[in-house]
Subunit: 515 residues, 2 copies
């Protein structure tokens, strides 16, 4: 099963269903298929062939969706670039992937001269005008019948992730990988259905959103686009298009719920909100569930597994037992049917149920490896299992609890502190809009805990007050001993706080941070 | 993904859910897993090893379910035998598969001496006493940790189908094949859910029922067993266990609905009835939907694709437009997401939408081939597509209409007549309980059409009357020109009428059949 088949199947089963809804225009799957065929012919005319890398630096748009399918049609490999990257990271990724073509929209066209100088191997720059829906012009001389369908173990995309070290690495996701993830969006509890409208509000270069592209097409659902995330535009689009389902990562959800105009929009069409990509503070979840009477589903996963590893069903969002150590509402849910999961120690031996270890996974959704990184692959994929770098625990019912990134865990004295637990308490303070916890080097304790916070507009909050708040709610060794105030937290593509940046900026031992 | 993982996953996610419900006893997935581990140790003690064939000749029981998993645990291949077979077919299959062990229950134990003489390669006969739930005794000396998990492309089972010629052929279904089919039971419109109770009323040797075994386990659903099908026992079990879902092929459904005690049972727990395996006459479907207010879902498929190819959703059971040539209610539904389907001509070229051709399919659910039949495989699987031998057509929306088996289509004059269309009209006659249509050699027309019918108890029906009935409802060339009366129609494992037997018995040109 391939990306190509996703669309071919949509034409067989959902030809007259709406594939794309734009301002005042609807495009059926049959029409969309013709569009992608035209685009594929154009790509072929430019020389796109099996295995070529074709990079895309664009905001969300129908053209982006078109490229996901038309690139696959030629057997080439799509390389979606992070739109938040610095030019240096873009250049690095284009060179690392050896991309032959780059698609840019009007927002990124101005970068082309700089890129051209720094990426000599790039042969073609294609400007996509997303001001109106149009197909790339067709070269009728190109006959696609000579293009054979890629195999399911061929690479469909290189999805770059900001790794821990050494710059971005390209996760090689095969057609089978992406198809498997698509199936994970069709089974319970996510269960995408025909006719549902999905708002692409999260960036389409990232699998938090792109992971749904193929499942939506399989199901015969409708794609609606927001070029970039904006809380008010999101609400406006939900109301206008009567959106059924949307991904809102915690940061986005927070911005929507706290928007001054939240009450002005009719969001009643929403059936499901899928959240994930970073830890969800319980108070935010509870607030969201109070204000938005739709089903909430959590997805946990990562680029390296094509998106989804576990899903938390709406029925498991129960707050009654939230105080228990293992309460499903605090978990990331249960393994999707193609994601076999274990929690292991340093020797890759299973730890007992309830114990913390590294989460590892295998299945047809796990990447082939990182592009040109044989040493990293040997380590990360050792024994045939993807080592996620996440610390977690399984309970008796198979709910997976993600405690922290291995590298973000704080060691203070002889204790391990998982930052999301502390962040959840800090975020619950009414004066806090956003917060992140980092470890700060300390001569006595190894590390001490520092909270970096963004206060709510108008809130007056002191370091001392926040530390007191935590003392009343957390074991002593888990409490921050210092607080740094800032205007904004640095975030990655899906709103995940970039702790390495925070540590650089706020991680110096300071006088106020000592005892 | 493997059969083994299905159960391991159930233990991780559904350890305390009920795997099996018997008269007055419930067994959790954790307990069931322990049972299968014990059985696997016993199998290992008998020498079961990777690739060995282990045959099962038993009625439905928890022990049968146990064997599906414990055989896989040793890496061996299960060979489920058709319980309706003549001893000659059993012997043929045991020899053809090269089975080393045979499991029998008390019903089939008397056949062992005969089998022993005719199948010298069989090393072990194991008698399973299904009078009570018990595990095979454990040999503690056997350590299963040396048994590595089979690969997903290893064969999990040989499922013998009565082919058109040359006796039964063993379809080699891999772990991936069976897992793929399991996923097809989890997506819409079938969507098996945790906690549902499934009644194994159809035989577990056949994929019409066995195709659900792995999906039920993945979902955390409960297995309930009926040793063999009986209409009243089925109703009794549905009432007693509050069954949620059951497979009832048309013959079974007919027997249930027409049973004298139908009204005495409470069948209100039923959420879904899955039907298929042979054409469903519309009047029977309508009657069933009137009498049983649950969702009806049709599955179309075959052993060679591990069970399911297409599914007809309940929402598509609309009778309003049943007179249209292509009305979804008359179709077999739409392709499951891992079943790519085409309808082709004799040169394997796609025929246009709405035209009749052979249904071919590919995907990870398609068998590896028939056991030891390289020539047949080269033909049946040519070009990487499974040639089903079924004649069908696709409509604009991807609904697949199955018209007939290629070999059962009748050619009369220059016209093609598809037997189910005629059978549907014949069955609608109030005096007809069951009917099948066959072609009879004719000097003038090539073939003429003969109806073989079983009348309802007490009904008085003449040949002339039935032909008149058809003349009022069918184009002239589609009407039977002769009628044969019989007490019962010969049927295969899932109630599919064996037309080859019928043709032998009722296919001679007779005086009354001519013009």
């Amino acid at each position: 099963m391939t990306v190509n088949y996703c669309l071919r199947r949509a034409v067989q089963l959902h030809a007259n269903c709406i594939a794309i809804e734009l301002h005042g225009r609807q495009i059926t799957y049959r029409e969309f298929y013709e569009t992608t065929e035209n685009s594929a012919r154009k790509l072929a005319a430019l020389g796109a062939a099996k295995g070529d890398r074709i990079a895309v630096l664009m905001h969300n748009s129908p053209e982006y969706l078109d490229l996901y399918y038309s690139v696959a049609r030629t057997g080439a490999i799509i390389v979606p670039l992070n739109t938040r990257w610095h030019i240096n990271e873009i250049v690095f990724t284009l060179n690392d992937s050896g991309s032959r073509m780059l698609f840019v929209d009007e927002r990124f066209a101005p970068l082309v001269p700089q890129i051209r100088d720094a990426v000599p191997a790039l042969e073609h720059y294609i400007f996509v005008d997303s001001a109106e829906w149009k197909t790339l012009s067709t070269d009728p001389a190109i006959d696609l019948t000579n293009y054979t369908e890629p195999g399911e173990d061929d690479i469909a995309g290189l999805f770059y992730t900001s790794g821990t070290t050494g710059g971005p690495k390209g996760a090689m996701l095969t057609h089978r990988n992406l198809y498997t993830n698509a199936i994970h969006t069709l089974v319970a509890p996510l269960g995408l259905l025909k006719g549902w409208k999905w708002l692409h509000s999260a960036p389409m270069f990232h699998l938090a959103d792109a992971g749904a592209i193929h499942g939506l097409t399989l199901a015969g659902a409708t794609h609606v686009f927001l070029p970039t995330f904006d809380p008010e535009e999101t609400m406006r689009a939900i109301e206008r298009h009567r959106i059924d389902i949307v991904v809102l990562v915690p940061t986005m959800l927070n911005m929507v719920l706290n928007h001054a105009n939240f009450d002005r929009y009719d969001l009643s069409s929403l059936k499901r909100i899928l959240y994930g990509a970073s830890p969800m503070p319980l108070p935010l979840l509870r607030q969201a569930m109070d204000k938005l009477p739709c089903e909430f589903i959590q997805g946990y996963g990562m680029t390296e597994v094509s998106g989804i590893l576990t899903l938390l069903a709406f029925a498991d969002h129960r707050f009654e037992d939230a105080d228990r150590q293992f309460a499903p509402v605090k978990s990331a849910g249960k393994a999707a049917p193609y994601a076999e999961i274990r929690v292991v120690d340093h020797n890759d031996k299973d730890v007992p149920v309830g114990q913390v270890g590294e989460v590892i996974a295998r299945g047809p959704n796990v990447m082939k490896g990182y592009w040109n990184r044989p040493e990293v692959n040997a380590e990360v994929l050792r024994g045939g299992w993807m080592h996620t770098g996440d610390l977690g625990a399984l309970d008796e019912e198979g709910f997976l609890y993600i405690l922290d990134r291995k590298k973000d865990m704080i060691k203070t004295g002889s204790e391990n502190v998982y930052s999301p637990e502390v962040e959840s308490v800090v975020c619950a303070h009414p004066g806090v809009l956003e917060a992140a916890i980092i470890g700060v080097p300390d001569a006595t304790w190894g590390e001490t805990i520092r909270a970096v916070i963004v206060t709510r507009p108008g809130a007056r909050l002191t370091e001392c007050e926040l530390i007191q708040w935590c003392r009343g709610r957390l074991t002593a060794f888990k409490c921050p001993t210092s607080v740094a105030f800032t205007d904004t937290l640095p975030k990655g593509g899906t709103g995940k706080v970039q702790k390495n940046v925070l540590r650089e900026r706020f991680g110096q031992p300071a006088l106020s941070a000592g005892e």
